[in-house]
């Protein structure tokens, strides 16, 4: 330690105001800096790309054998985005829980005392990171599909629509995960919550629905379909879009938006209680 406090302050400093943009930039830089979530994000994208490549390859082989059953061009990207949704959700939920459980939240509040501003900035960072990850996965797997699956054909408008809906869906899943992580405050709990919500509940309900009376099976199936991952796969689906129209994709997207609103609300309430 060398120097004493000096007269560094200027009139310009006194006029300066903290803005949501500045806080959001700080949060985004923190997310992708060392000690942030860069490793997890790269892993999520890599796993999704790997699965997208594998899926595209399998579809190409299948279509070479039976060209009349060619799947939509976006099929590989749809599968890749589904995997991205799950892995990204785990990464973001753990990150949010870690920030809340350790001292970062307290340190951040000392710098950004308006909780609404801090949370909004934090979630804007999540939105941006999730959107970039989704765009990278969709574009790369889609290009792979163009190269490897010459027999598949879907009009460009549908491809673009699936891409946009896919990015929106990933962003909403990311917000659900961030909200759940912030509300839980502990990484282990966050993983459990996200795992149960995204995978265990829909799979378990679907399995149980096979062996119960039909009225109960209908209820369980409806409930399972209303959980985030089935909503996501229903929304990001070129066949759904072309056969049933945009409503068949937008309605599940609205369902995802409702889930994310609930998760973020829970996060706000949990922080208010702390």
């Amino acid at each position: 330690m060398s120097a004493a406090p000096g007269g560094r302050r200027t009139a310009r400093d006194d006029r300066r105001r903290q803005t949501l943009g500045a806080v959001a930039r700080a949060e985004l830089a923190r997310l992708i800096a060392r000690g942030g979530l860069l490793g997890g994000l790269v892993t999520a994208v890599a796993v999704a790309l790997l699965l997208g490549w594998a899926m595209t390859g399998l579809l190409a082989l299948g279509e070479a054998e039976t060209p009349e059953f060619a799947a939509p061009t976006t099929a590989g990207a749809e599968a890749a985005l589904s995997v991205l949704a799950v892995v990204l959700a785990v990464v973001l939920a753990v990150g949010a829980a870690r920030d809340t459980g350790t001292g970062l939240l307290e340190s951040s509040l000392a710098l950004v005392p308006r909780r609404g501003r801090l949370l909004t900035a934090r979630w804007l960072g999540v939105v941006l990171v999730a959107a970039v990850a989704a765009i990278v996965v969709f574009v790369v797997v889609q290009l792979l599909g163009v190269v490897l699956r010459p027999l598949a054909s879907t009009d460009i408008g549908t491809v673009l629509a699936v891409g946009v809906i896919g990015v929106a869906g990933i962003v909403l899943i990311a917000l659900i995960a961030a909200g759940a992580g912030t509300a839980s405050g502990r990484p282990v709990v966050a993983i459990l919550v996200v795992g149960v919500l995204l995978l265990v509940v829909p799979v378990a309900f679907s399995i149980v629905a096979v062996s119960v009376p039909s009225w109960l099976a209908d209820v369980l199936t409806t409930l399972a379909d209303a959980t985030p991952m089935p909503l996501f796969t229903a929304a990001v689906n070129a066949t759904n879009l072309t056969v049933s129209g945009p409503g068949a994709c937008l309605l599940p997207l609205l369902g995802l938006a409702a889930w994310s609103a609930v998760a973020l609300l829970l996060a706000v309430l949990a922080l208010r209680r702390r």
Partner: protein
């Protein structure tokens, strides 16, 4: 100025802060003392709006901290080395802090140099010693040269050189016209920098005043060294003076040095040293704490 107005905070039905009011004035270092669990950290957290007060409020330069246009310019806070994010690097955390205030990130490197963390800035905070964490926390608090500074136990883990630097730093900040609220268990250190003292016990302010006023709560006493110390002690006690052996001599309480010297002299003793002693902040702290406990027991 930090103006704590009648704040109350309860956890699980237990009131940990009970109608606390005091001011940390501009241009002064206000020492904030009290035993563990007295509620000091809760009050400081309420000042930073990290903890919400059940009742009352804390104003920083006339308004709640949350309404400050540039928070780190209004109030620099360092509450605990434990709240620093372990996974981030020191420079990473400072850059995050700078970006959040719209300050150029180059300021982060300046602060690393200022608090002597060169060479360790790119290491994860998890690998930092307590002293290094303290330095980093102080650096964040200094980010925008704030007009008010709140430091909770900043001396813990600092080496003597850093303690000396911190002493100069906080007095420098205060002399520049800013308010400094400094919580510490290190009474000797606090006695060197504090202009005013606020003492908290069991969630209540039990004593407040300037450092001079605060230390006079301790007893008047004088220190005597004599050739025949046992005889000197006996003579003082015979006159009803409380006398206790201390160092190479004896401490006589509630007596002027002139009278103490006369008693020893009349008893045939030979004085080698006679001086009055001002009680330290630590002495006064324990005297005040004892008085507060006695009052509490009576209540």
């Amino acid at each position: 100025m930090i103006d704590v107005q009648d704040v109350v905070k309860s956890y699980g039905g237990r009131r940990v802060v009970d109608r606390v009011s005091f001011r940390a004035e501009d241009g002064l270092v206000t020492g904030f003392v009290g035993p563990n669990g007295a509620g000091k950290s809760t009050v400081l957290r309420m000042a930073a709006q990290i903890t919400r007060a059940d009742e009352g409020r804390v104003l920083v330069d006339g308004e709640p901290f949350g309404q400050a246009p540039l928070p780190a310019r209004r109030l620099g806070i360092f509450l605990s080395a434990e709240t620093l994010p372990d996974r981030m690097t020191g420079i990473g955390f400072l850059r995050y802090a700078a970006r959040s205030q719209g300050v150029p990130v180059a300021r982060a490197a300046e602060l690393i140099g200022l608090v002597g963390l060169e060479g360790a800035e790119s290491k994860r905070i998890a690998s930092y010693s307590l002293g290094m964490r303290q330095r980093l926390g102080i650096a964040v608090a200094m980010l925008c040269e704030p007009s008010n500074l709140v430091l909770d136990e900043p001396i813990n883990g600092l080496d003597p050189d850093a303690i000396r630097w911190l002493r100069g730093f906080v007095t420098g900040v205060a002399r520049a016209g800013n308010a400094v609220l400094l919580s510490s268990h290190h009474m000797a250190e606090l006695g060197l920098v504090a202009d005013r003292v606020v003492m908290l016990d069991r969630g209540r302010v039990v004593r407040t005043g300037s450092l001079d006023e605060f230390v006079t709560v301790g007893q008047r006493r004088c220190y005597i060294e004599a050739l025949d110390l046992d005889a000197a002690v006996a003579a003082l006690r015979a006159e009803g003076v409380r006398a206790e052996p201390s160092r190479q001599g004896v401490l006589a309480f509630d007596i002027e040095p002139e009278r103490a010297g006369a008693i020893v002299y009349r008893a045939g003793g030979t004085l080698r040293h006679l001086s009055s002693e001002t009680p330290s902040l630590e002495d006064s702290y324990f005297a005040s704490l004892g008085a507060a406990e006695a009052t509490g027991e009576q209540r």
